[in-house]
Symmetry: C2
Subunit: 507 residues, 2 copies
């Protein structure tokens, strides 16, 4: 056809088959076809992930070698990207979705959350102010108020109580670290205003079991590292913070002319799931006007069940609490929920009011502008997936999900108990079992525990990680990956037993 | 059937139809069915969004009234959530995806990006360290190195140059504000180490056109607000910063015993798309060892076209640059790319090394642990969607996309020029047109410009926002929403003309 190709294409690219049609990034055929291919991939992935090595064996830089160091000039069918995803990306993934994943904490997930996140990606609203995306802001506030009820948080943390607006506030952030950072900034500014002290006179507190990201957040907020107090813990409190030691530390600082400013208490530490006594921490903190934040990133989700709620006792006396449904409430990343008792204290440190964002709704004071509760300005439609999880599954299924994981963890704990080669290191609070080889016929030092872990992990049939508790290397077995069933726990246990038996032949 | 329902269901809930099956959040049937329903919704939404009012008219609190103040106890079919989404959420959305959206900056999007984000949600990896998700880290590094080539950034910003690792580094963050914050923390720590000064002696700089989130990030990082320098700009530099004034401000601070620490230069300000002269800013900054960051959040994407690349001239002399493909490179939120010339300076301020994240790969030093370049620890599979965009569309289509938007903006600019009731306020650099009613037959004060905007917006047929430039209220017409075509620009212009004609009848 001699005429084809003779008209210059709008893009200037003329192919052998004539001009290329104009580029439409949201062409309906492409939207449907790319997303259907993605759904097929996901369905296949979930069916086959169980049989893949949990921990891959790729080498640093491998992906560049496989996919090329430079971007392509010309477009390619979407199938090319999907083919490369299957061939090159999947084999290099540590499969958090695998039912044989027992490392860190699980990143739980659900069909409703993924669908909600997909719709958020497609609507692609940017809800910095209420007016910029009213339903996105309202949905986030609603989902957070619903979750507050599941957690039986005091009404003082809710955005709205009854028909009127409360003093509390909440926001969905990307990570716990961001929740710490924004509350640290608020506490810092309040302490400086109240005391007249400089930033380098402010002191912050946490137990030695608190996630390392807390002191990183303190550094980010400009606190002086010489004023970071890490309170030692031990087995006598199951590694929860001792309020007497916390009091002594705050008293010593106050005597030395420093200003105790912020304490982070944890419900379910990353290392061993230790629980700080929130009520006692708050009592001590109140003596010094110290901001109390509760980090319940993982274990907060369990507190939707009445039998676990007591771990939050005392929360009515704290200033803020954060927990992450992306850990244990079936909501894919990112989803960290931060609640504060006095939203104005947060916005005083975080609000901005540039001309180009001014609008009548903000001026009215009747609305929440979520940019004033976070680090950045822009934000996704973050509440949708969390709402879809609660709307579709209901409290009943969410509680069943927590109880099932805890029951499976208990089953694993019982198996470990029954094997005299192992010991449980700390009492199990939730769905994490901390255990190690004890001195009974085999060497029981850190090295042999590390070897057991390495040997298990290199089979590709399970992946568990370690920590150090009380100076000893401990293996962490975290139950709850969303495709996990009892049979996977049993297989992992058999693998551990077989691995140690094989090791014993040589020790 | 008398036996059905007699066995207690695992969840304890027995329905009229017998026991409920155990709850599986990633059941294959649900995954496929929920996601297919979501895809159908998206396809319908894109087809119908053009006819919806761009700016909704809902009242604060409306969603709670429609969806209920408390979470449901019992599960519901996914169709219920989808029905409520259509009935209650969609009417409350400010439709960033509408082709009639001209407010703020567009949040551009594409089928490839949405599919990539969907797959990331489903795989739900948490790539804090390389080992925790090697392919996710490698993909992020690869996508960033590809994008660096599209932008013709100096090799010093790339993770890998040739086969070996460079000193540069990059990371995908949620927002520009986070990019500012982490680089501010690095610059702050370097300045304090080098000078021995305290944090309250450090000074930071930006033009008065810089996004307000910059000084918010400075406050977050603990800088003293009395040391924030906002350099005035004017029409004589088209609102770009004057290096002479910047030099004078730094000199005055240095003379006063302060330590000039960080300057933020912008390529394409939010207000009017002004461009700071990067090379000249870097020359001034070098005299005082000041960290130079370039915020190219919006306009950075245009620099993939050779004809716009000159706006980045001098970037080889800066310390860091960030730009957001979620604004203008067809990649849905969140996607802000931060490049730094010396990755170690960033990780020195941001790294953590808790026992439970220790692994052989990190110890080897051969890998990038992305947690050490961001605020938090956890992170999604962020690189996938950006890679899919570049892989599928190729540089050719991405450049066509930029050029098409700029051509449409120029068309609008020409229409405004040809109407003697309006004036163009600042020269158009990219796809944002800043205009206002000028004194020609109609009142031309801020109030009438504001009224024009309000009258246009309340039709629901277009949405534009305002700013203040040079003390005057200015209307911003931002072209580029991903479903936009020439006809939408023409319709919006007709609407603006009709609206002002109607207004003239009464003034």
């Amino acid at each position: 056809h001699p005429q084809m190709g003779s008209i210059p294409a709008r893009s200037g690219l003329v192919t052998a088959f004539g001009e290329r049609p104009p580029f439409h990034p949201l062409n309906d055929d492409d939207v449907r076809s790319y997303l259907h291919k993605a759904v097929d991939f996901i369905s296949d992935y979930y069916k086959s992930v169980e049989s893949m090595p949990v921990l891959p064996s790729v080498k640093p830089g491998y992906l560049r070698d496989e996919l090329g160091a430079s971007p392509p000039v010309h477009p390619a069918p979407f199938d090319v990207a999907m083919k490369e995803l299957r061939a090159s990306v999947v084999p290099g993934i540590t499969h958090w979705a695998s039912p044989n994943f027992f490392a860190f904490f699980p990143a739980t997930n659900s069909a409703a959350a993924i669908a909600g996140d997909l719709i958020a990606s497609a609507m692609n609203t940017v809800g910095f102010t209420w007016q910029a995306a009213p339903a996105a802001t309202e949905m986030e506030v609603l989902a957070l108020d619903w979750l507050a009820q599941l957690l039986r948080l005091p009404r003082s943390f809710m955005n709205r109580t009854g028909a009127s607006r409360g003093t509390g506030g909440s926001v969905i952030l990307g990570t716990t670290s961001e929740a710490m950072l924004v509350t640290l900034a608020a506490a810092r500014d309040i302490a400086m205003r109240r005391s007249g002290a400089g930033i380098s006179d402010l002191a912050v507190y946490a137990s030695d079991q608190t996630h390392s990201t807390f002191f990183k957040a303190c550094r980010l907020a400009g606190f002086d590292p010489t004023n970071f107090r890490s309170i030692p813990t031990g087995p006598e409190t199951d590694y929860g913070v001792d309020p007497v030691k916390l009091l002594a530390a705050m008293q010593a600082d106050a005597m030395a002319g420093l200003v105790p400013t912020y304490v982070c208490a944890t419900v379910g530490t990353t290392s061993s799931n230790a629980v700080d006594p929130i009520g006692d921490v708050a009592k001590v903190a109140a003596m010094f006007n110290v901001w109390v934040h509760v980090d319940a990133a993982y274990a907060g989700s369990a507190c939707i069940c009445p039998e676990f709620r007591h771990h939050l006792n005392g929360v009515e006396h704290v200033d803020s609490i954060s927990m992450s449904p992306h850990k244990w409430l079936l909501t894919c990343l990112d989803c960290t929920c931060l609640y504060v008792r006095d939203a104005r204290r947060l916005s005083q440190s975080l609000e901005t009011d540039p001309e180009y964002l001014k609008n009548d709704a903000s001026v009215s004071g009747d609305v929440t502008d979520l940019k004033d509760m976070q680090v950045g300005v822009g934000r996704r439609f973050r509440g949708l997936k969390l709402w879809m999880v609660m709307r579709t599954y209901g409290t009943a299924n969410l509680q069943e999900h927590i109880r099932r994981d805890v029951a499976m963890a208990k089953m694993f704990e019982d198996l470990v108990h029954a094997d005299n080669r192992f010991e449980i290191v700390v009492p199990r609070n939730f769905a994490l079992v901390c255990f190690r080889i004890k001195a009974a016929g085999v060497r029981a030092d850190d090295e042999v525990n590390r070897l057991l872990m390495a040997n298990v992990n290199k089979t590709g049939k399970a992946y568990l990680t370690h920590t150090v508790v009380g100076g000893k290397l401990v293996l962490r077995f975290a139950v709850g990956s969303s495709l996990q069933e009892e049979k996977h726990i049993l297989s992992a246990w058999e693998l551990i037993r077989k691995t140690i038996s094989d090791m014993m032949k040589y020790v």
